[in-house]
Amino acid sequence: MSEPAPALGGARAEGYVTVAELPPQGMIAVRGDLSEEGESLAQALADATGGELPDVRGMVQTGRVALAWMSPDEVLILCAYADAPELAGALDAALSGAHALVANVSDARAVFELSGARVREVIAKLAPVDVAAFGPGEMRRTRLAQIPAAIWMPEEGRLRLMCFRSVARYAFDLLEKAADEGAEVGWP
């Protein structure tokens, strides 16, 4: 295979918040029943990834792997891009007895990192999210202007946003404009 090429080749914009496209991120989508009835599946998932299953809208990072709650029957596993095919295979095998769907979707999205003291404010310009009540440990799926997107904060001052790969340019242009010097608001 070739060197994996992210959608925008690692685009970067320096405003009052810095916006940077991250290198390809390993992502595995798992669909399965995560409710109490699906406890065995959840356990198998946790075992196979070495991660911890998040609560509703939660995201838990364990070592090199993070598990994010996407819906009552979908978990997104974030890992190194190179690890994804093997981990997806292992998961598929581990969950073969259960009713589950595992797919390596590491190429489907673009991921941006916003860094700076006012990362929440930049998101507040584009997404109908109460960013004051949002913080590390949560995966929030929402709308960024006219596209679906999801955001999470690895820690204060850093926020990551993912969207589908085909609209990476649109998302980047929006974020760049919103984070431009002179556009500071002071909210929240």
């Binding site: 669909r31 507040a124 960013v131 202007a145 589908f164 340019r169 242009d173």
Partner: protein, 1005 residues
């Protein structure tokens, strides 16, 4: 003459000057001036001409309610018409021009309309100019359009260079209005710990209180305002935002606020306007009250102003509207203006008070200050054209017989105050008529409701009908505390700020001055200054049967346009009520709709401009296409190459070249946009049988099948190739635009109908780049790349395999949408461009050329393959397209099956798909209709079919088309006539829709 006073001006920085131009004339003002105050300070009271009669007009008000002083602001790219001079902050270099006049503000030919006013009453355009009809289009309308209207529209060639943005804000309590009421409410809610956002439309806090004087908590109002703002700014949980107007209240506590972040700057560094999209649990409307004018003849002459505005100009901006100002009133408040003018050293010849007994304490103060007060009097008429020269007083109860002429150059009028109830009313808050104050105020028992069914808007202060300073503060404090409490915060027990209690004699409602004014006077008594609506117009509407206030509004234009009747509303409906012999509350108000004052289109668009106007979806190979001459075509939100044009080549030539090359050598198509959805689970086969009209459960792993998907209405919604990956897993390909809605369709059925079925779906469209390698040399290039057995034996037509091709992990589908030998190769998106380039490189020796969507269309049309969106339009069922072979007869059910059994769907008279071959070989026009004998009920030609796809076939060297034709397949060989827009007719023969390789041998080699 209006002029700048030697001292004073609480909002001005008199140590500095800013220069600006008005109609090209260089003028100056001070930082803190509005354009209106600066113009008046420079002696320019005349600011515009009226809409209909082109009457000279000066400002009436000092704020957002201003109907007259509308100007064009800035030049070129930043030009903007109809901006209120009263809310425009001056800055160095500002340019403004007056509008609605020709040739000049001082001399306007259009003023002839005023002479003809008798012939231009309400609704004149509905009756006067009706006959003869042709004259309307060619004479009346052009003339009226030229003379009516307001500002100058921006030049369509210019592009607004400024930026705009949105901001989502979530708060417990939003307080609209930064006067003393808003501040008191914010203080109470803020101290209780609620998350508070306080917005104020002007650049200043405190509202009217500092102008009107008096003390709050024992301090001068200005000091209390400064201290309270400082306290609020220090609170973590409170945000203050000036220059931000509460534009509209919408359902469930959603509020739009319009921040004019850069309007006071020559070129803002950041966004010019910001639209706040606020979700508030409680909304406190501390929006104050607006003073009403009085209706008397000549009340629109420049120099006639609201009494409160006169006070504002003197106190805030040290501007005197005139040297001698007569005050006309029906209430006590206007005496404050008389006293204020006197204190500023200006002359007040008289206060004309319509009340027989006059006023209370304030009247006594005025008399004590040496001001003459005439009670029981009104104004019969104002003398003057471009400027007030005198008023003629008369008994208020009479018909206007003059008692006295009083020389003056300004008139300050007050007809009482009306609470600003707009925001309260936007989501259905009701009003009650307060007969004592003669205004509508919010009815607390019928408040707007939130999603929990509880009242979510609380009116506070003057906006709630409280008019005394002390009453306002107490009411607002309680409103803030209540809002905090209702959002889960415990208000502190501290007392409301204290202010003076109201000490005024009752107002007397005066809707016309004098009470029995003659027709002649009523024809000069303005109600709506902006739209030139007079008392006589409203009375005419009532006589002509426009009894509903909403009808009367539209007939007379009362309360329309940019000011939306902020000054005219109550007076107008009172006149209407009187004319109808009804009470005001029975007539009611017109509907209050957002926005409160006009907001810019830029603010509404926010980031949706230029490159981010809407999402453009790009495939992983997008930049390669761009570098290789792609002419783009939008397909849904995707951009796909239409064709790759070479130097000197026309689009048509390029398409023909690509078609021939794909048929004769080797073509490459970026098919990444096709939707790809995984369907997996023990019930997946059963689910697939419901989704598709075909029998998908019998598809063998390793094989592909073309499938049709219908809606429950029976109509064809999508098509594509399904590959079975294993016993439990299918991969469904959708059309380019279809992935999202097909995936949503699947999830809808699984979640809401068959939730007990064990099936998971996943939209993996964007995970894969997909490359179609098409043509007689397709196998050769893949064999050259190596790693995968693509022989006929190993990978037969309609099979798929996976493995490594040229070192790339791929899945290869042996499917064809062109009729040629064809492989569709799916590769992870981050590697798709590299593989594309590798194939392109390897294909050079086989004559490879990339091809675009138009070539794709020609190739498929030559083969008679349908295209969703061309052959289908939401009314077409698969049976119409001769696709019965793809509809399983063995299945009991599939989505759409029952609908296709409905009598109209099974009707043999339906239009059905055929091929169309022009007799002269030309290309049929797109969407052309085949005519039939006779006409329909509307006198239009009958039709018997229409073209759905039409192309020049490079392969056949002639035009080919498909179309839906009445009983088409039964009519092979018949010739139909297709009229073109130029009046000529093209004849085409009905043929089978497959034009090329009917046996399908070329794709199966």
């Amino acid at each position: 003459m209006s002029t700048r006073l030697a001292t004073g001006g609480r909002l001005l920085d008199r140590s500095r000057r800013v220069s600006f131009t008005f109609d090209g004339k260089r003028l100056s003002g001070h930082p803190g001036d509005t354009l209106a105050s600066a113009l008046m300070g420079a002696g320019q009271l005349l600011m515009g001409r009226s809409f209909k009669y082109h009457r000279p007009r000066g400002p009436v008000a000092s704020g957002a309610e201003e109907p007259n002083a509308l100007v064009n602001l800035r030049d070129g790219d930043r030009h903007e018409p109809n901006q209120r001079a009263t809310t425009t902050e001056v800055f160095e270099g500002l340019t403004a021009t007056s509008q609605n006049h020709w040739p000049s503000l001082d001399f306007d030919v259009g003023q002839v309309n005023a002479a003809l006013a008798r012939f231009l009453p309400a609704g004149f355009y509905y009756k006067t100019f009706i006959h003869p009809r042709p004259l309307w289009k060619h004479l009346y309308e052009p003339v009226i359009r030229r003379s009516a209207g307001l500002g100058k529209a921006p030049d369509p060639e210019t592009r607004d260079p400024d930026r705009y943005e949105h901001l989502y804000a979530f708060v417990d309590v939003l307080i609209v209005g930064g006067g003393t009421a808003g501040l008191a409410a914010a203080r109470a809610a803020g101290r209780a710990g609620a998350r508070v956002l306080l917005i104020e439309q002007t650049p200043h806090w405190g509202g009217r209180a500092p102008v009107d004087g008096g003390e709050i908590d024992g301090q001068p109002a200005d000091d209390w305002v400064a201290a309270t703002v400082a306290e609020l700014e220090a609170m973590e949980n409170v945000t203050l935002r000036a220059r931000t107007m509460g534009a509209g209240v919408y359902d469930h506590g959603y509020v739009l606020a319009y921040e004019r972040a850069g309007d006071h700057l020559a070129a803002p560094a950041g966004p010019r306007h910001r639209l706040w999209r606020i979700r508030a649990e409680r909304i406190v409307t501390a929006t104050g009250a607006l003073e009403r004018p009085l209706a008397f003849a000549g009340n629109d002459v420049p120099g006639v102003m609201l009494a409160s505005a006169v006070r504002d100009y003197v106190v805030n901006w040290a501007v005197s509207p005139g040297d001698r100002t007569v005050v006309v009133t029906n209430n006590d408040d206007a005496y404050r203006t008389a006293l204020c003018l006197k204190a500023a050293g200006l002359d007040v010849p008289a206060v004309i008070d319509a009340r027989p007994e006059g006023g209370g304490r304030l009247m006594d103060e005025a008399r004590a200050a040496g001001i003459r007060v005439e009670t029981g009097r009104g104004v019969a008429k104002v003398k003057g054209g471009k400027r007030v020269e005198a008023v003629y007083t008369c008994p208020q109860v009479g018909e206007g017989a003059t008692v006295q002429e009083i020389k003056c150059d300004a008139v300050a009028v007050s007809g009482g105050w009306s609470p600003v109830v707009h925001l309260w009313s936007h989501t259905g808050g009701k009003l009650v008529w307060d007969a004592a104050e003669a205004f509508f105020r919010p009815d607390p028992d019928r408040a707007p409701l939130g999603d929990d069914g509880a009242a979510n808007v609380i009116a506070a202060g003057a906006a709630n009908g409280a008019l005394g300073p002390g009453e306002i503060l107490a009411d607002a404090h309680a409103a803030g505390a209540r809002a905090a409490e209702e959002t889960g915060h415990a208000p502190k027990s501290d007392a409301a700020p204290s202010g003076d209690a109201r000490d005024e004699a009752p107002l007397a409602p005066v809707w016309l001055m004098p009470q029995g004014a003659s027709v002649k006077l009523r024809q000069k008594a303005w109600l709506d200054f902006q739209n030139d609506v007079k008392v006589s117009d409203v009375e005419l509407a009532a006589r002509e049967g426009y009894e509903s206030v909403e009808h009367a509004k539209r007939y007379t234009t009362l309360g329309m346009a940019t000011d939306q009747g902020k000054l005219s509303n109550i007076n107008g409906l009172a006149v209407l009520a009187q004319a109808l012999g009804e009470e005001i509350p029975q007539v009611g108000t017109t509907t209050f709709r957002p926005p409160y004052t006009p907001i810019s289109m830029g603010a509404i668009a926010g980031p949706a401009t230029g490159a981010t106007f809407q999402p453009v979806r790009r495939t992983p190979m997008h930049d390669w296409h761009a570098a290789h001459g792609a002419d783009w075509e939008p397909v849904g939100q995707w951009r796909r190459p239409y064709t790759y044009r070479r130097e000197g080549e026309s689009r048509a030539d390029a398409v023909n070249r690509e078609v021939k090359n794909a048929r004769e050598a080797l073509g490459m198509l970026d098919a990444s946009t096709l939707g790809k959805i995984l369907v997996k689970g023990p019930d997946a086969p059963r689910f697939m049988d419901m989704l598709y009209t075909n029998m998908m459960s019998t598809l063998k792993p390793g094989r592909c099948r073309y499938g049709l998907m219908c809606s429950e209405n029976g109509f064809l919604m999508d098509d594509g190739v399904v590959a079975r990956l294993d016993e439990e897993t299918f991969l469904c390909h959708t059309t380019t635009g279809g992935a999202d809605h097909v995936h949503a369709h699947m999830e809808e059925w699984l979640q809401t109908e068959w939730w007990d079925w064990k099936v998971w779906t996943l939209n993996v469209t964007e995970q894969w780049g997909q490359i179609a390698v098409v043509g007689p040399n397709a196998r050769k290039v893949l064999e050259k790349l190596g790693g995968l057995d693509v022989s006929k034996e190993a990978l037969s037509f309609m099979g798929w395999t996976e493995g490594t091709l040229a070192g790339f992990s791929v899945r290869v589908f042996r499917i064809s949408f062109s009729g040629e030998l064809s492989y569709e190769i799916a590769v992870p998106a981050n590697h798709a461009r590299a593989l594309w380039e590798a194939i392109f490189e390897a294909g050079q020796e086989f004559g490879v050329m990339p091809y675009g969507t138009e070539c794709l269309h020609v190739l498929r049309a030559e083969k008679g393959f349908i295209m969703i969106g061309d052959e289908t339009d939401g009314t077409v069922i698969p049976q119409d397209l001769g696709l019965d072979w793809a509809i399983s007869k063995k299945k009991d059910d599939y989505i759409g099956k029952r609908a296709q059994q409905r009598s109209h769907m099974a009707d043999p008279e339906r239009w059905k798909l055929v091929g169309l071959e022009t007799l002269d070989g030309s290309v049929l026009p797109e969407a052309a209709y085949a005519t039939a004998p006779g006409t329909n009920a509307n006198g239009q030609r009958n039709t018997q079919g229409r073209v759905t796809s039409t192309y020049h076939s490079a392969t056949l060297g002639r035009g080919i088309a498909m179309g839906l034709v009445h009983r088409g397949p039964e009519r092979m060989g018949e010739v139909l006539e297709f009229p073109k827009v130029d009046g000529t007719v093209v004849k085409a023969k009905i043929v089978a829709p497959v034009f090329y390789d009917r046996e399908g041998t070329k794709q199966d080699v």
